[in-house]
Amino acid sequence: MTHPPPQASRLEQIYALSLRLYPGRFRVAHAQEMRQTFSDALRDSTLFRRTLIHLVLRDLAISLAKEHLAMLRDTYARPALVFNALVLAGLATVLALALYAIPQQVLRQGANDPQIQLAGDLVAKLEQGATPTEAVPAGSVDMARSLSPFVIAYDDFGHPLASQAQLDGSTPAPPVGVFDYVRQHGEERVSWRPRPGVRIAAIVQRVGGAHAGFVLAGRSLREVEAREEQVEQMAGLAWAVMLGLIVLGTAGYGWCTRPKSA
């Protein structure tokens, strides 16, 4: 950094100070010339001082913005730097998605555990000759409120025969397509929404023998979905933190390795 000469006028001193606002590299390269140019202009009797001050103020505003933008572009808009940052951001995004998807799947699959056993037990009883009324345990589970698992027996057309659970006073049935699928494949595991606001982790199995039909074992997904939401928030937070670190790291690295000639 150069200093104004002792004989410099106050205006020259102020202008010299204002040059500190330019990016360092630009200042080192041009401050001396700029001060000289300003001094030449001040000493030019053909140029009105008011015109000069207006011109210089306008120039400061425009060129400061321009040179700082150029400095930022030269520092950070290097292809290698941007490419590295994008790759890291991509990896962070994949990692955050995995942080969400893996626990979400574990939670969701875990929500089926008791129903698999309940459905299997009920199918075995019905195929051994028990009637649906005998085989389905007594009880009344409110599907909209209770977290307890429940079972429902349906006939071969999908009409409920016996149920351990009720929703708004009746026994709902899953879509016909579910029964069609189970007819062909023996079992289906679905997230069933009997009405808005109620989601059930349901296992539907085929029943053979004298009481051919279907059994459904279900359980509310309310708590599981609350945990999935927590996982989603944690994964989102981790993603934001990783992206923040990448931005900070890229900015720091870009600044430390900025081209000296730029």
């Binding site: 630009f26 041009h30 001396q32 700029m34 000289q36 140019t37 030019d44 400061l60 425009i62």
Partner: protein, 132 residues
């Protein structure tokens, strides 16, 4: 700074910014008149304030070039090979600049472009009588 033009066959470059045009014009004018020089044989170029003053004059385009814009433009023009430092100076606080062959070519292209535009305006009767 210079973007390849699209759709024209005669102009290889996009229109120059007023600052760049004024600087090229000032340096070209210096070469023609040969002033001011350092008096050491070859024309030594012009320093910043002379360029700034030329640009401000009506014949230089009436462009208000402050020192920041001037030296920022000169730096980019040097990077693009349009101007160069003459290396001759009578004062260590001043650097002198002159056109390169690319600078001459860019100025010629711009002048041809402007000339064609003026001719077109004249043929359409958009330029008042008495204006040359």
């Amino acid at each position: 700074m210079y973007i390849r033009s699209m759709g024209t066959q005669t102009a290889p470059t996009a229109p120059l910014s007023p600052a760049v045009f004024a600087i090229l014009l000032s340096l070209a004018e210096g070469e023609k008149t040969g002033s001011p020089a350092t008096g050491r044989g070859r024309w030594g170029g012009k320093h910043g304030y002379l360029i700034m003053k030329d640009a401000l004059a009506p014949q230089g385009g009436g462009v208000h070039l402050g020192p920041g814009t001037l030296y920022g433009s000169l730096e980019r023009m040097m990077r693009d090979g349009l101007v160069e430092e003459s290396g001759i100076s009578d004062d260590e606080r001043r650097r002198y600049y002159r056109l390169t062959s690319s600078g001459h070519a860019a100025l010629s292209t711009e002048l041809e472009r402007l000339d064609a535009a003026v001719a077109s305006a004249r043929s359409l009767g958009l330029i008042p009588h008495g204006v040359r």
